[in-house]
Symmetry: C2
């Protein structure tokens, strides 16, 4: 196995670690707090965008783990480029949706009358932020792997002949 | 120019039409309404995700228009694949963020205490929905063009030798 393949394998392992962490951290985000004598419970499942985030990262994790068992040579690797593309899309989409909602949770939206909730459920917000950061790391690694595949085959930046 | 190139050109024109429409429809979304004797104004600029949506679609439009002036032959087309990838990412990201916020606008989020606003500003919501639909069409066309480029060069589904 040459150096660039070893590096790709290492990055794939890191990507799996990141997406698995993102799923688990988001899925365990949960806080119960008392505001004006009323118990308020905040958890990921109350927000569709956060559920989508968990599903997308779980799909990316399964994809990443299955690929580790793919024989190093073979035509199937051509399909992997297309699958990587789909996974990157899924991660971008889920991150953007979850990030947009998290931003409203943090800052609120005065015009729409949506109050920020992070002052009340700080631990929950920190947990979600952690999941988003893990998600960004996973996405960046996948994006790098995808660019590398495209570069190797298409040589888009004309760095070699 | 052979048939597949003519088809690609046609799809690129359609993609530009879709992303330009998405930008303009979102940028013109605006409604003033009176609730409990208070004038409420809703417009895209109050929501960061909607501003991002306009920027992303404007970038995609400029990219699409510039490409129409690219000479049909030449090495620059290799870069186009990478640029298309970036544009697709941008469109997926902005659509997901704007879609997530639009969903809260439509359905609200009981747990967070965010009320739906579309009953008060229906025309605004319809306008935003129109922009999102145009955005989805633009994205689908770009995604098709990208898959076509990757398929032509990588032949990932092994449909030919």
């Amino acid at each position: 196995m040459d150096k660039s393949k070893k590096a790709a394998l290492l990055f794939r392992l890191l990507a799996v670690a990141a997406t698995v962490s993102a799923s688990i951290v988001m899925a365990t985000s949960h806080q119960t707090t008392v505001v004006f004598n009323v118990a308020i419970e905040a958890k990921y499942s109350q927000t569709p965008a956060f559920r989508f985030f968990i599903i997308a990262n779980a799909v990316a994790s399964i994809h990443g783990i299955l690929i580790l068992f793919l024989p190093p040579k073979g035509l199937l690797w051509r399909v992997v480029v297309a699958l990587d593309l789909v996974v990157v899309m899924l991660l971008v989409s889920s991150l953007s949706a979850a990030g947009a909602i998290a931003q409203v949770g943090k800052k609120g939206n005065n015009y729409a009358g949506w109050m920020p909730i992070c002052d009340q459920v700080k631990a929950f917000c920190d947990h979600v932020l952690g999941a988003l950061i893990a998600g960004v790391i996973g996405l960046l690694i996948y994006f790098g792997l995808l660019l590398h595949s495209i570069h190797t085959v298409l040589n888009p930046l004309l760095l070699k002949d």
